[in-house]
C-alpha cells in the first residue's frame, strides 16, 4: 500500500530498456513523460516522414523505369562563379545555410530552457532569417531552371521528362515546409520576447518549434543525397 502511495507521488525512478517500455505502456499513468505538444509534434513529423518518403520513392521509381537518360544534376545545378565552373555550387551553399540554421536553433532551445529571453529570441530570429535565405536561394534556383534551362514538370531539353515533375514536387514541398517554419519561428520568437513563456511557466514550445525545424533540415539531408548527388 505504501508502495503505491510512493509511486503515485514520485513517478520519476522507472526502469530503463525494454522493461521500461513495458512499464511506460502498462502503468497507470501518461505513457510518454513529455509535454503533449512535443509528443504530437513527433507524431506529425512521423507522418511527414511518410509523405516525403513517398515522394522520394516515386522519384526513385520513375528514375529506374525511364529508358531516357536522366539529366546529370551535377551539371544542371552548376554555377559559374567568378569565371570558374562550380558543380552544385548553389546546392552546397543552401545545405550549409540550412545546417547553420539548425545549429542556431539548437542553441535557441538551450537558451530557452535557461530562460535567457534575449538570446533565445535573437537565435530564433537568426534561424528564421537563414531559413528565409534558403527559400530565396531556392526561388533563384527555380527561376534559373524554368527560365534559362527550360525545365517544365512535363519535360526538359536535357533528358527524362520526369526530372522536372520530381524536382518541382520534392523541392517545392520542402520549400513550403521551410517557409511555414520561418513563420512559425517568428511567431514563437515574438512570444519569447514578450515573455509569454515566462508567464506560461515553460519554454517547451521553443523545443517543439526546434523539432520541426530540425526535421526540415533532416529532410534536406535526404533530398541532397538522393536528388542532387545520386
Amino acid at each position: 500500500m505504501s508502495d503505491h502511495a510512493m509511486t503515485a507521488a514520485q513517478p520519476a525512478p522507472s526502469p530503463g530498456g525494454l522493461e521500461g517500455v513495458a512499464a511506460d505502456w502498462s502503468a497507470d499513468k501518461q505513457t510518454f513523460p513529455v509535454p503533449w505538444g512535443k509528443a504530437m509534434m513527433w507524431i506529425f513529423l512521423l507522418s511527414d516522414t511518410f509523405i516525403f518518403t513517398c515522394f522520394l520513392t516515386s522519384y526513385m521509381n520513375v528514375r529506374i523505369s525511364t529508358t531516357v537518360p536522366w539529366p546529370n544534376p551535377s551539371e544542371v545545378f552548376a554555377l559559374t562563379l567568378f569565371g570558374t565552373h562550380v558543380p552544385l555550387a548553389l546546392i552546397a551553399i543552401m545545405t550549409m545555410v540550412l545546417i547553420t540554421s539548425s545549429g542556431t536553433m539548437a542553441m535557441a532551445v538551450n537558451y530557452g530552457y535557461r530562460r535567457h529571453r534575449a538570446n533565445t529570441t535573437a537565435l530564433m530570429l537568426i534561424t528564421a532569417a537563414l531559413g528565409a535565405t534558403f527559400v530565396g536561394m531556392q526561388a533563384f534556383e527555380w527561376a534559373k531552371l524554368i527560365i534559362d534551362e527550360g525545365v517544365r514538370p512535363w519535360g526538359n531539353p536535357m533528358g527524362a521528362p520526369q526530372f522536372g515533375s520530381a524536382f518541382f514536387m520534392i523541392t517545392g514541398f520542402h520549400g513550403l515546409h521551410v517557409s511555414a517554419g520561418v513563420v512559425y519561428l517568428i511567431v514563437v520568437a515574438m512570444r519569447v520576447w514578450t515573455g509569454f513563456y515566462d508567464r506560461k511557466g515553460t519554454y517547451e514550445t521553443v523545443e517543439i518549434a526546434g523539432l520541426y525545424w530540425h526535421f526540415v533540415d533532416l529532410v534536406w539531408v535526404f533530398i541532397f543525397a538522393f536528388f542532387y548527388l545520386w
Binding site: 512521423l46 511518410f50 525511364t66 526546434g210 543525397a225
Partner: protein, 112 residues
C-alpha cells in the same frame, strides 16, 4: 506537480552548449565530404557507399542530438523509429516495380 521540478522531465532537455557546437561542426564536415564526392566525380559503388554513409551519419546526429531523441525514453524512441521501417518495404517493392517497368518498356517500345 511541484515536486518533479527537481528532475529533468519538467524543464525539458538541458545539455551543455558544447555538444551542439561539436555536432554542428561534424555536420559541416560531413556535408563538405558528401559535396566532395560529387566535386571529385567519384563513381560506381564507392560513390553510393560514401553518399549513403554521410547521409546516415548526418541524419543520425540531427535526430539523436539536435532533436534530443538520444535522451528520450525507449518507449518514445520506438514509436518514432519503428514505423518508418515499413517504408523500407515500400522502397523495395517500388524498386522491383521500377525494374519491371523498365524491362517492359525495353521489350515493348525498343526501336530496332
Amino acid at each position: 506537480m511541484e515536486h518533479t521540478s527537481s528532475t529533468h522531465a519538467v524543464e525539458g532537455q538541458q545539455h551543455p552548449i558544447k555538444i551542439y557546437l561539436w555536432i554542428w561542426l561534424l555536420l559541416f564536415v560531413f556535408s563538405a565530404f558528401s559535396y566532395l564526392v560529387d566535386y571529385l566525380q567519384l563513381q560506381g559503388y564507392l560513390r553510393w557507399t560514401l553518399i549513403l554513409t554521410f547521409m546516415m551519419l548526418k541524419a543520425g546526429f540531427i535526430v539523436a542530438i539536435f532533436m534530443h531523441l538520444a535522451w528520450e525514453r525507449l518507449a518514445l524512441k520506438l514509436v518514432i523509429l519503428v514505423p518508418p521501417l515499413c517504408l523500407l518495404v515500400l522502397i523495395a517493392l517500388m524498386a522491383i516495380e521500377g525494374d519491371y517497368t523498365f524491362l517492359t518498356r525495353l521489350a515493348a517500345f525498343a526501336r530496332s
